[in-house]
Subunit: 67 residues, 2 copies
DNA sequence: GCACTATGCAATAAATATTTTGCATATTAA
DNA sequence: TTAATATGCAAAATATTTATTGCATAGTGC
């Protein structure tokens, strides 16, 4: 479950469908990534991060300072 | 051409083959990623970054402060 | 109740990452 | 010269992401 991604999306008031449209993906793909069900490509990760105003690390890196 | 990745690997004195072994990938995959020829999965990016002691952003993010 | 949006889940198809194998060149060391 | 390492390139096979489609449920507002 990628909480950081879900939180960043909700903070921007975007639905899964809207984020999918903005990143040339589908709703299913976004949903599965948020659920941690798979393993997106780097390009898609970058698109998502830029769309949400975050970096790769902020959305997809398991940092040492995670609680 | 992913220079940041190549530089980080060479700084660690690793061959493409050695990095591939450490990340459960193949030499070809590492070579193609360094050449910018494709689009690795997030999991592989994370493995590579951890192996090289870097973060995703340091290897795969096109930062605003790139010269 | 009824329409509408948001999300989850699942099967199939399509696209593409990754592996496997082999051969090529350049470099370095014995 | 010969052996060994490092890298590039390419074709075919495999694995996995991603798209497509459809149906289900919960919530909201009319």
């Amino acid at each position: 479950m990628n909480m950081k991604l879900k939180l960043a999306r909700v903070e921007k008031n975007l639905s899964q469908q809207q984020l999918a449209d903005l990143t040339d993906a589908t709703r299913q793909t976004i949903g599965l990534i948020e659920k941690g069900k798979y393993n997106p490509s780097l390009n898609l990760c970058v698109k998502i991060a830029k769309t949400l105003g975050k970096t790769l690390d902020q959305l997809f890196w398991v940092g040492v300072d995670d609680s």
